[in-house]
């Protein structure tokens, strides 16, 4: 079920990204929908699943990107691992905490990409600070909304399943 949920989330993110790129100029500079899916998954606290998700999401982004294949893979794997570890140690429930986790993840991803660019390219081209700040802010807000919405949906689904099971047993 978790794998299915993650796959659907990734597919939706991919479609949103492709449609956004087609319809909105500078879409990829303003928001990272893949990171929203990745951090939402990592906040479950399952470290192994987060590592795999980080590698998969990173490969998706690398395929769509024009830089060296694997840069996003490395950055996303580290971000996912760190987020999952954080989720194991800290209980994040409130919207502000979720948004903060997304801010940290997006900022870490950008910092790692910049670091890799400096290490791998002689004259790296880096995004402007304003765009990076906007991307972090928009990704964090979207991430917060998606996380809270998915948690509520999950709670409703679980409650529906419990009720259904109860009816089957005692009805």
């Amino acid at each position: 079920m978790r794998v299915l949920r993650f796959s659907i989330g990734l597919l939706v993110a991919l479609l949103v990204h492709l449609a956004g790129m087609r319809l909105v100029p500078h879409f990829s500079l303003a928001v990272d929908v893949f990171l929203v899916v990745l951090v939402t998954k990592a906040l479950d606290g399952d470290v192994v699943a987060a590592i795999v998700a980080g590698a998969v999401v990173g490969l998706f982004q690398d395929t769509l990107g024009g830089t060296l294949y694997g840069m996003f893979g490395v950055a996303d794997t580290i971000v996912a691992y760190a987020t999952a570890l954080l989720a194991q140690k800290v209980v994040i429930q409130r919207m502000s905490g979720v948004v903060l986790a997304f801010v940290a993840a997006a900022a870490t991803q950008q910092a790692l990409l910049a670091l890799l660019a400096f290490v791998l390219f002689p004259d790296p081209e880096l995004p402007r600070v304003g765009w990076v700040a906007l991307r972090i802010a928009v990704t964090a807000l979207l991430g917060g909304v998606v996380f809270i919405a998915s948690r509520q949906w999950r709670q409703r689904y679980d409650s529906w399943r419990r009720n259904r099971t109860a009816r089957v047993h005692f009805g």
Partner: protein, 281 residues
Amino acid sequence: MNERRARWLFLAVLGAQLLALSLQVPDPERRSSFPESLGLRFLGPLARAVDSGADGASSVRESFRRRAALVEENRRLQSELERLRLEVMRLRESDDEARRLAAALDYGRQSHADLGVADVVYGDFSSWLRTLVVRTGSARVAINQAVVAPAGLVGRVILVAGPYAKVQIVIDRTASVSAYLEPSHRQGIVRGDGNGGLELDYVLQQAEVGVGDRVLTAGIDGIYPRGIPIGTVTSVQPGGELFHSITLAPAVDFGKLEQVYIVNSPSLPQSLKETSAGARP
């Protein structure tokens, strides 16, 4: 799985990714890897479907909104077509004349390259990863083939995956094209400036360069055929001691690309490239 095993898995995955990344760095030709080809084969059809959907939706919307404007545009295009037909006739005459004169001078004309049409299914020109994914269909496409649009140079093919190909755009920071200025015929190297524009490097201070001068491909890098417009000069500053600092506006509006053409010109043989790279003056 306990925390220790998870840490080992993390290190293993990260190590594998870093190894794969480091193997690509010394490769200037940027050969495609299997996962990248596989990824493009999977994502290409999705990108195409989204692109077609967006096209369909926008065309329906436009047709409702611009019916009157379309009639007017059709009339204008008809008159332009007439004018262009006359222009083609005139150019054919000039071409015949040039052919005759060339034959008289025993001058071997350079054959025109074939063009293969490709649909743009995904383009990211605004972020720092400037990419274009095109659908080439059944046409044979190879790495390093030049990609052009009616307005000028787009870039070169860097990855082929089935009917899809990834194109390095000329405004990419890592792209470089040998070029010349049209009036002075001074040569230089065009690179992306990192902000969606272009720079022309290695043009000597002695060369006369003016704003508005056209810059075209020089055809000496073994990838791009000669004479394709790259851009126009927007500013000329004294750079270092030897060279101008020249910025260009690209000839192509990358944000409006829907179709591109892949140039099937005979590229420089690899053996010749290696010989020229190792040559000493």
